[in-house]
Symmetry: C2
Subunit: 201 residues, 2 copies
Amino acid sequence: MPDVKHFDPEAVLDSVEELFWRRGVASTGVQDIVSATGVNRSSLYSTFGGKRELYVAALRRYADRRSGPVFRRLAEDDRGLPAIADFFRALIRARCSGAHARWGCLVTNAHAGPEQDDPDVRSVLQDHHDRLRAAMCAALERARATGGLRPDIVPATSADVLALLAYGVNLRSRAGASPEALAETVTAVLASLATRPEEIR
Amino acid sequence: MPDVKHFDPEAVLDSVEELFWRRGVASTGVQDIVSATGVNRSSLYSTFGGKRELYVAALRRYADRRSGPVFRRLAEDDRGLPAIADFFRALIRARCSGAHARWGCLVTNAHAGPEQDDPDVRSVLQDHHDRLRAAMCAALERARATGGLRPDIVPATSADVLALLAYGVNLRSRAGASPEALAETVTAVLASLATRPEEIR
DNA sequence: GCTAACTTGGAACGACCATTCCAAGATGGC
DNA sequence: GCCATCTTGGAATGGTCGTTCCAAGTTAGC
């Protein structure tokens, strides 16, 4: 009976995610979203709530659709350390070149801003962190199973190390760190985990 | 001949540094600075320039007076790995408890915001990063000299690892990471560098 | 005590902020 | 074609933003 929406909310969230990712929450106004999407303010507010809700939705979307699949692939990859090496290779490439070069990671960026003390945001951060750690841990356990991990390495603890390392890569890539230097840093960490250096590939 | 300043610019910068540190650049208005310092807008503008200049000055001050001495102490400490362990112990304590708990590091935070593409800000970030790496590298070379470092460890590369780790600690502590978990993560990295586990203390 | 030089208080600026409101428009079922 | 129902356009809200401006106040040298 009623009128139907004249736009695709999912497509709007895509644009919003990109805006917040590239320019940050504080620097992105509702007007910017209106301009970028072509959707009217009223429609934005009636559909999503407000700026805060838009940000949380975009953040959740980023964690689900961008980080999520990557983490899942890592967790399901049964090669062990080479899987982790590939993860970091792809990460560094995405952070330093291509369409999103020097944008960092939306979730990582959220850690550093005032937005992180919003409970909804905080829960996305925690969830994201747990999933990253779990994926790392799974990959390390594969490495252990195939004998690729040094005997004194504890997967759960080293998963934390690798997670923090990923945040570091996300951060420093924003300031223009060279992909080569980042790759060397990552390789050094992986070498400290491997029984044989060639394990990392 | 002229009138003299009725306030201490250094004291103002102290307050400004704290405001930007705690609440972030974007969320801190000039009005907040006026209220916190009691110094009039006109005086602020005629003395410092504007908000951008105030932020850059505060950031530089943070790097010089907060990070600087800590880096210097680390670089001059001749104990090797225990010096690095102490550095991280103090870092974690400062980030997770006390007056600045969960504030993170002003320089680390600057990486994630839109302020980082200001050339002046960028140069502070680069300088800060270089000094952190150099201090880590110096400490690692001491460890090498005293035989505390595994033979396959390259100080310069591991310095990069430790620097990224420090950024990771700064970031995650903001989201409420437990000091115990962070300490365990750091210990795992240090253990991978040491010839003998007891080297870390 | 006068004056030149600088600081200070406080109002005012225009631009932008997120949000609200309502009349006008569009739609699907009858 | 009509109506109930939702969406849309666009103006308007009150607030805050960073910055500017100028008159009034304060000081040191003469």
